[in-house]
Amino acid sequence: MANITYHHAKGNVDSLDAEPGMTVMMAAVIHGVDGIIGECGGQAICATCHVYVRDEYLDGLPAISGAEEEMLETTVSPRNPARSRLGCQLTAGDHFNTIEVDIPDEQD
C-alpha cells in the first residue's frame, strides 16, 4: 500500500492509502479530495488534475510525455517547471510508495 498526501492551498491536508496501480488523480477522485477532477478519465487530455509534487518526491517519477507536456502548458494555475505534473500520470507502486503534492490555488 502506498501513501499519498495532498496539501490544500488553505493549509488543510488529505492523506490516503492507495493500492498499487492507483494514480494520484484516481485516488483523489475516488476519495473526494477537493481540487482534483480528472475530467478526461486519466488520459492526459485535460489538465484538471494538475498538482505540484514536493521536491523530495520528484525522483522516481516518469518522464513527462508529449501529451502531458502539452496539457501542462494549459493549466489554470501557473506551471512550475520542476514540480508541475498531471496526477493521472503518477502511479502508486510504479512511480512512488510515498508522495506529497500541493493542489494549485485556482483548482482548490
Partner: protein, 446 residues
C-alpha cells in the same frame, strides 16, 4: 438587490457528464436554490470514456472512476434520486413525475438524458453473448466475459467498436470487425485518416471487413456461436460487441410536446421550445456555429461545455423575470434586444470549439473542430511513424485537424480554431513552420 425569491427548484434529468457538470456549475456560479438530480442507473455517477479503453484491460476488477466523489451530493446540497426514471412532464403545471410515483415541481427543468445504443434487428440479435457497451453494467459484464473467450466479433467500426477491438487484441483475442461502409469511422473522419486506421488495425492483428454488414447470428443453446455477414461470410465467435451508433433519448421531450428533430431542439442558450426547459449533451440538437448548421454531438467536451453554458444561461434568465412570462425571446440570438438585465455580462450563444479523442491500442486520435465531406486535406508529419496530423480546409479556411500521437498539433489546432487565426495549407504542411508558437499569438483584432 434581486430580492425576489420564487421557490426555485432546478430539476436535472440525467446524471451523466452533462447533468453532473450542470449541477456543479450552478453551485459554482452561486445558485443557492434547490437542485434535484434524477438518474436511471443506481450507480454513483461515473465516467464512461474509460469503459471502452482502460477498463477492459486484463487483470483484477477495475474500479469505475466517479464523476465526482460520493460526498458531492451532500457538499453541493443536491437532492439526488438514483435508480428512478422520469415518466412524464407536465409543462403547464411545471411538474415531472417519476416511476416511483413522486411528482416534483420545477422552476427550471434540464434534460440531460443522453443517448441509447442503437440495437440490431437481425435474426439472432437477442442471443446471449451479444453485448452492447455504454453503461458500467455493460462494461462489468464484458470484463468478466473477456477472461473466458478466445474470439470476438465486433459489429461496426466506429469509435466504440474499434476501441473495444484494440482492447481485445491487447488481451490476445482473435478479433474480427464487420463494417457495412467502405471505411472505418466514416462519419467522423477524413478518408485519409480512415485509411490510416484501417491499416493500423491490420498491423494490430484486427481483421477488419469493410463493406460487410451483419445479416444474422447463429446460436447454440441460446448462445451466439457465429456472425453471418451481408456478403454471406460466417465468422465463428464466442462473443459479439455491437457498436452501431446511438439514438438520442428524446422520448420524454417528444411526449411533452417539445420540438424534436434528431435530438431535442434548443437555441443558442440551450433552451428548448419551452423557455423553462433546457436540454444539453448527447440528447440536444443545437445551432452549431462551427458546422454552420444544427448538429447533435456525442462527446465529453460537448456535454461539459454545454453544461457550463446552460448553467450561466439559467442564472442569467432568473433575476427580475416574472415566472411564466415566457416571452419567447431567444436570449442567445438577439443580444442587442436584451433588456439590461441584473447580471451584467451579455451571454452569447453557445459556440465552444468541438473536440474529441479516441484511444485505440497505441494510437491516440484527437480531433479539433468538425470534419466535413469534401474538405481539402493536408498532411503534417509521417503516417508511417504513426505520428501525424491531417489539416482540413474548406474554401481555404482551416476547419478541423485530426491528430495521431501528436498532442502538440492538437492543442495548437484548438487554439487556432478557437481564436479564428488564419492558417494556409502551405503553412500546415511545412514542417519548419512553428505551428505551436504561431497558435499562441494573440489574434490581430479583438
Amino acid at each position: 438587490m434581486n430580492a425576489i425569491t420564487t421557490p426555485d427548484n432546478v430539476v436535472v434529468v440525467g446524471n451523466g457528464q452533462a447533468g453532473i457538470q450542470l449541477v456543479d456549475s450552478l453551485r459554482k456560479e452561486g445558485y443557492t436554490g434547490a437542485i434535484t438530480l434524477i438518474g436511471e442507473e443506481t450507480h454513483h455517477p461515473y465516467q464512461r470514456p474509460p469503459l471502452s479503453k482502460d477498463y477492459l484491460a486484463a487483470g483484477k476488477d477495475p474500479v469505475p472512476l466517479p464523476l465526482r466523489p460520493e460526498k458531492f451530493f451532500t457538499t453541493h446540497d443536491v437532492d439526488a434520486r438514483l435508480g428512478v426514471r422520469v415518466t412524464s412532464i407536465d409543462r403547464t403545471a411545471r411538474t415531472a413525475t417519476l416511476d416511483d410515483g413522486t411528482t416534483l415541481a420545477y422552476s427550471t427543468l434540464v434534460l440531460a438524458t443522453g443517448a441509447a445504443n442503437r440495437e440490431l434487428a437481425v435474426p439472432g440479435a437477442d442471443l446471449a453473448g451479444i453485448h452492447g457497451l455504454r453503461t458500467l453494467t455493460d462494461a462489468q459484464a464484458l470484463h468478466a466475459r473477456l477472461d473466458t473467450v478466445r474470439s470476438v466479433v465486433v459489429i461496426g467500426a466506429g469509435f466504440i467498436g474499434l476501441e473495444f477491438a484494440a482492447a481485445a487484441r491487447a488481451r490476445g483475442l482473435d478479433v474480427t470487425v464487420l463494417e457495412y461502409a467502405d471505411r472505418p469511422m466514416g462519419r467522423a473522419l477524413t478518408p485519409v485518416m480512415s485509411g490510416f486506421f484501417a491499416d493500423a488495425h491490420g498491423r494490430l492483428g484486427v481483421t477488419l471487413r469493410l463493406g460487410e454488414g451483419i445479416a444474422s447470428f447463429d446460436g447454440d443453446n441460446g448462445h451466439v456461436t457465429a456472425a453471418v455477414s451481408t456478403t454471406g461470410h460466417r465468422y465463428p465467435t464466442d462473443l459479439v460487441l455491437v457498436g452501431v451508433g446511438v439514438t438520442p433519448r428524446t422520448e420524454l421531450a417528444a411526449a411533452a410536446g417539445l420540438d424534436v428533430d434528431n435530438g431535442i431542439v434548443v437555441d443558442g442558450s440551450l433552451r428548448t421550445s419551452d423557455p423553462n426547459i433546457y436540454a444539453l449533451g448527447d440528447c440536444a440538437s443545437f445551432p452549431n456555429t462551427h458546422a454552420g448548421t444544427r448538429t447533435r454531438l456525442e462527446s465529453v467536451q460537448n456535454a461539459t461545455d454545454q453544461a457550463r453554458h446552460a448553467a450561466a444561461a439559467i442564472l442569467a434568465s432568473r433575476p427580475g423575470k416574472e415566472p411564466g412570462s415566457g416571452t419567447g425571446v431567444e436570449s442567445g440570438s438577439m443580444p442587442g434586444s436584451e433588456p439590461a438585465g441584473g447580471t451584467g455580462a451579455e451571454l452569447g450563444g453557445y459556440a465552444d470549439l468541438p473536440w474529441f479523442w479516441s484511444n485505440q491500442g497505441p494510437l491516440r486520435l484527437q480531433i479539433a473542430g468538425l470534419v466535413a465531406p469534401g474538405d481539402q486535406t493536408v498532411l503534417r508529419g509521417n503516417p508511417a511513424e504513426e505520428k501525424f496530423s491531417v489539416f482540413c480546409f474548406r474554401n481555404g479556411t482551416l476547419t478541423a485537424v485530426e491528430s495521431v500521437n501528436q498532442p502538440a498539433d492538437h492543442m495548437a489546432a484548438r487554439r487556432l480554431l478557437a481564436a479564428g487565426l488564419p492558417l494556409t495549407p502551405e503553412q500546415a504542411a511545412d514542417p519548419d513552420f512553428d505551428l505551436k508558437a504561431y497558435s499562441k499569438q494573440q489574434p490581430a483584432t479583438v
